[in-house]
């Protein structure tokens, strides 16, 4: 029943074939794999300008995200994983290659790919918790009562009902990230882009939020592109893990991990070790990460 995790791992660009075989039968709650990908990133190369020098961040990235699928982008610091996320969000334009989202290759920033950042200051400091969630809904055309109801639901969902009249500076880091997640999910986007949203949190808060996110994303039926440098986080949250390597980076492997049911799973350690090998830094990533 359990497909050996390491089997799902092959070298570059074998992801589509390797993914569909073992897991579809193994888990009925897995995402639908027959439909077209929601997001496809094909041979994308990205450079950006940093003080007059052109930094090449990503050399060749190719992967897909299916509707409701959770894909983790993992790689060492500075490998360009956030850069890829920003390109998908429409903040940066790739030098070459193609990104297509929901059938369109015209990628400009938009709320259909709601972004959650790592930084705590991504909330509008001049708006209360409730207003921070209501405002994006109003901007994207919801009526006032509809926006209020929707925002209240999602704030309750992330457990911040009692704090809804507070201003961001009166919240802890973990609470701020919860608001940011509520804000993104309330928009009802087909896809959520998350750039190490738990990276600045303490281990206990991080673990709790990871659990919450798993639950919420499941309920919201949203696809996830999630940047992390923690193997444990990737294994805990992801259906598939896209491993980036080198600077400028390329996709080293796409690993199917949807059958890994937490750290007690017999395959957890072996797949974790394989990922460590791929990343070339065994044990360097937070050892306290996902339990």
């Amino acid at each position: 029943m359990k497909a050996p995790g390491a089997l799902g791992m092959k070298n570059q660009q074998s992801d589509v074939s390797s993914r569909s075989q073992p897991d579809v039968k193994a888990k009925e709650d897995g995402p639908v794999t027959s439909s077209a990908p929601l997001l496809s990133v094909e041979h994308v190369k990205i450079s950006y300008r940093l003080k007059n020098t052109l930094v090449q961040a990503v050399d060749d990235a190719t992967f897909t995200v299916m509707p409701e699928e959770k894909v983790m982008l993992i790689g060492p610091s500075g490998c360009g994983k956030s850069t890829i996320l920003k390109a998908v969000a429409g903040f940066i334009e790739p030098v070459s290659g193609r990104i297509s989202f929901a059938g369109s290759t015209n990628i400009t920033p938009g709320p259909d790919r709601a972004v959650v950042f790592q930084e705590f200051d991504q909330l509008f400091p001049w708006r209360t918790v409730l207003d921070n969630v209501v405002y994006p809904l109003r901007v994207t055309g919801r009526s006032k009562p509809e926006a209020m109801a929707q925002a209240t639901t999602f704030i309750e969902m992330v457990g911040l009902g009692p704090a809804r009249t507070r201003f961001p500076h009166q919240l802890s880091g973990g609470m701020k990230q919860r608001v940011a997640i509520a804000r993104a999910l309330a928009l009802g986007p087909p896809m959520l882009l998350m750039d190490e949203p738990f990276g600045s949190l303490d281990a206990i808060t991080r673990t709790r939020l990871q659990g919450d996110l798993n639950r919420l994303a499941e309920r919201a039926k949203v696809a996830l592109l999630f940047v992390t440098h923690s193997i444990d986080e990737a294994l805990l949250l992801g259906h598939r893990v896209v491993v980036l390597q080198g600077a400028p980076s390329t996709v080293a492997a796409v690993v199917d991990v949807r059958d890994i049911n937490g750290p007690d799973d017999p395959h957890y350690r072996s797949i974790r070790r394989s990922l460590e090998d791929l990343l070339g830094a065994p044990g360097e990533e937070e050892p306290d990460g996902g339990n």
Partner: protein, 282 residues
Amino acid sequence: MAVTSQELRPGADLGGTLTARQSWSRLPAWLRRVIILAVAVAVWELYVKAAHVSHLVFASPYAVARSFVSGWLDGQIAGATGVTLEALAIGMAIGIGSAIVFTVLATWTTVGQDALMMFTSMLNPLPSIAILPLAIIWFGLNEKALVFVVANAVVWPIAINVTTGFRTVNTTLLMVGKNLGLRGWRLVRDVLLPAALPYIISGVKVAWAFAWRTIIASELVFGTAGGSGGLGYFINKSQYFLNIPDVFAGLVTIAVIGIIVEVGFNMLERRTVIRWGMQATS
């Protein structure tokens, strides 16, 4: 009198002084200020009474209060205040308007930013009153010259603060705004402006302080040269006729207006940037 609220501790002198100090700091801030003011006024009154100073040189608080009240009642001070505030308002409006233009240029273009930086570093340290002689040559001995020096006092601190505010807006917040599909004016109004508000307020605050000092000083200069009718002129005229209580009454008016505006700014900050936890660290 401050000790009265404290419970009595019989015996030790040391204990007594300690309690006095404690009870003083326990009083509300406004009451402590009122007490100090009352003591200062009392000392002033006593000095004038006891030292027999000529009232052609110095006025007692009582005389000042009488001049102040009658000056406001017969419209003399009120009229002068109106003239001053009108010139100030026009000057500040022109200054703020120009500051907005400079800020837009400096935010969109690098040349604009360089030019603004250069002009600010050259003209901001220069007390605006220093260009009054030139302004008089250019505009004549009239309100236009006043408006010009006030506008000059206002434009640089506002332009530099607001530009800094825009340039230092958190990039994450900007990306959040863009992610929601905000563009152009909507992005400016809903993200950039509120995010830069601490800088905008502190710019206007500094500008006000400069403008207020500049206009009074200019009117004093005008007073000696004749013409105009503002508060500075009123003080100058009163001094000319050796009406010392009126001089003091004019000074009190200037101080009171300054305090009122300051309180207004504090209230604005408490309702906005302090409430939102985003005071500028300047």
